[in-house]
């Protein structure tokens, strides 16, 4: 393990904490830093208590976990498909979730059912793609990718159909969901537990992942049981993404760019790359969500708008500089 990367990782962790702090302090109403202290010691005003404990902290933590889940899932997908364009949604998972969630909204169901439908839709799409790609026996990354992309297009058509035929007053809710929005994120406990559990599970497997990232044949030659590991990666990535989509709708971009960014900074060792991706993805989403809350406050933007606006220039700059 490349121990000399550890200071970088600690730096990233400090940055994550700073971003979380900012996310709690900033909003339509900016709080002084000692408000956090008095709220945590139980001496805050009722308004500050509600703002911090009921509204912002759960939201910021949910944002962090979601970003971490997406970035980790993206890193895994890139290993699995050995394709730099792979992201958590490339296999049609967000499309399945979106169709189910929009149907739940059309039926007038509440937040809980919309989230549950999204989770169900994501799992359904996963099994569909998996069954179609692996069902006939012979499998390859290309075949999986192609199946996923085509299924995703199918979901896309259904989404357009649902949007075109729904009532006007339901459109804002649907569009916000599709762009990714954290204002109705449920409790952040489950996403955090899953993220931590998966990271702990994956880090001992890092060497295997490193080998697999170089190619299925090489990995097989080195004694990796490729099919089993691929199955596991696929399953884990799908679970991570499904939970992320359940929390916040389909937030694009984080899962694609963050793993690439981290590869530029930390190199190719998955044992560093995966935790670094989780930290950076979480930080990016918290930062984006904080901006989404304050840019035109008190009006709100969906977070998906900001993630790309923040990430694209940073990524292009790094790509440009790494080329020289």
């Amino acid at each position: 393990m490349q121990l000399y990367r550890l200071p970088h990782l600690l730096g990233l962790m400090a940055f994550a904490l700073l971003v979380i702090l900012l996310g709690v302090l900033l909003g339509s109403v900016n709080l002084p830093i000692n408000a956090i202290y008095s709220v945590l010691t139980g001496q805050g005003s009722p308004l500050h208590n509600t703002l911090i404990l009921d509204l912002r902290l759960p939201r910021v933590l949910a944002a962090f976990a979601t970003g971490g889940l997406l970035a980790t899932a993206g890193a895994l997908m890139q290993v699995l498909l050995r394709n730099p364009l792979a992201d958590p949604y490339v296999l049609g998972l967000s499309g399945g979730a979106a169709v189910a969630a929009l149907l739940a909204m059309l039926a007038g169901l509440g937040v809980f059912w919309v989230s549950s439908a999204a989770f169900g839709g994501a799992l359904f799409s996963t099994f569909l793609v998996f069954g179609l790609a692996y069902g006939s026996g012979q499998s390859s990354a290309t075949r999986l990718l192609l199946t996923g992309v085509v299924v995703a297009s199918g979901w896309g058509a259904l989404i357009s159909f649902l949007l075109a035929t729904s009532q006007a007053h339901q459109l804002p809710g649907m569009l916000y969901w599709l762009m990714g929005d954290l204002s109705h994120a449920p409790s952040p406990v489950i996403p955090w537990l899953v993220l931590l559990a998966v990271l702990v599970l994956l880090i001992p497997l890092g060497r295997t992942l490193n080998v697999l990232a170089r190619g299925a044949l090489q990995a097989a030659a080195l004694g990796v049981s490729v099919k089993k590991v691929e199955l596991m990666i696929f399953g884990l990535a799908a679970l991570l993404t499904a939970i992320a989509v359940t929390v916040a709708g389909s937030i694009g971009f984080v899962g694609l760019i963050v793993p690439h960014l981290m590869r530029m900074v930390f190199g190719y060792d998955q044992r560093i790359l995966l935790p670094a991706s989780a930290l950076a993805g979480g930080s990016l989403l918290v930062l984006a969500d904080t901006l989404a809350r304050i840019v035109i406050a008190p009006q709100q933007l969906p977070v998906g708008v900001i993630t790309a606006m923040l990430g694209v220039p940073v990524f292009l700059l790094l790509l440009y500089r790494s080329n020289r």
């Binding site: 909003g27 339509s28 109403v29 009722p46 308004l47 208590n49 509600t50 703002l51 009921d54 509204l55 912002r56 007038g108 509440g110 937040v111 075109a164 009532q167 006007a168 007053h169 804002p172 809710g173 916000y176 929005d181 204002s183 109705h184 809350r293 406050a297 008190p298 009006q299 709100q300 933007l301 969906p302």
Partner: protein, 302 residues
């Protein structure tokens, strides 16, 4: 050969000249009715409209209100009030019109909703020389104006005048009774996910001020902005009111009870307003306003 071509051309010229002359002559014949719509466009009709297409549920409602419902030959989806409106032939949704269906109904007037209907489709219809009257009612005064204009368009001036007067007098009464009472700060919730309210230019906001209510978000720029929950907490309104998904599901209001620091929650001033009474600029809006006024009065008493 050359000669025949010449004759064909000549016939064509003569015909097209005659046609042009005929077209030019038509408006001169008799413009019995000259009327300016809400976009400032001047419309000329030779006679009051007999076959009307109504491109918004609120227009259908207003046409029925002035006794011109029987002149509607086509309406858009969700034209559900009064009961008779539900039987009208549909020509698409207000945001997606069935242009061919409209043409096939041979209307002599299309009444359109300027900010709601898709302009390219309306222009297509106008290019087929079907007269289009645009409306954009955003205030109490605009509602009574619209009723009167619809009366002129359909030749039902007397009934329209009665409906407009009833609306104006009803509003005046509410104003006289409530506008000078103690001002009450109100958060009006339009939608739950995302959380949406309305600014001061919205008809509902005008209704609130008629009742002596003060919309806490009246100074925002967007007509129906998405806002954060926390800004509602800090503005701490005395009253929270709003509709819901259906006619009797005040579930959105229940959600606020999670925040006991709110004055509206402490004093139990969360009020449900039936959305069908306030979502359209029609005479029914007066009933909605009346309910808002009564709720605010209740809030003052507590």
């Amino acid at each position: 050969m050359h000669l025949t071509r010449f004759w064909v051309l000549l016939q064509f010229w003569v015909l097209s000249f005659a046609f042009t002359a005929a077209v030019l002559a038509t408006p001169l014949k008799a413009a019995a009715l000259t009327i300016t719509d809400d976009t400032g466009q001047v419309l000329q009709l030779t006679q009051p409209a007999q076959r009307i297409i109504s491109l918004s549920p609120h227009l259908t409602e207003n046409l029925f209100a002035i006794g011109a419902g029987n002149l509607i030959v086509g309406a858009v989806e969700y034209s559900d009030y009064p009961e008779a409106a539900k039987n009208l032939p549909l020509v698409g949704g207000y945001d997606q019109l069935d242009v061919e269906g409209i043409v096939a109904l041979q209307p002599d007037l299309i009444i359109a909703w300027h900010s709601g209907n898709p302009l390219p489709q309306i222009e297509r219809l106008a290019s087929l020389s079907i007269p289009v009257y645009f409306t954009e009612p955003r205030s109490f005064a605009a509602v009574s104006h619209e009723l009167r204009q619809l009366g002129r368009l359909t030749g039902k001036e007397a009934q329209a005048e009665a409906a407009a007067l009833a609306f104006e007098q009803g509003a005046e009464q509410l104003k006289a009774e409530y506008a000078q009472q103690r001002p009450v700060r109100v958060f009006y919730q339009v939608w739950e996910q995302p959380l949406m309210t309305l600014n001061g230019e919205h008809l509902i906001s005008e209704g609130l001020s008629l009742c002596g209510g003060v919309n806490i978000f009246s100074d925002l720029n967007q007509l129906v902005p998405v806002i954060s929950r926390e800004v509602v907490l800090t503005k701490n309104p005395e009253v929270i009111m709003g509709g819901g998904m259906g006619e009797d599901t005040p579930a959105w209001l229940e959600n606020w009870k999670k925040y006991p620091s709110l004055q509206a929650v402490q004093e139990n001033k969360l009020y449900f307003i039936p959305p069908s009474l306030v979502q359209r600029p029609t005479p029914r809006f007066l009933q909605g306003t009346k309910i808002m006024c009564e709720k605010l009065q209740k809030a003052r008493a507590n």
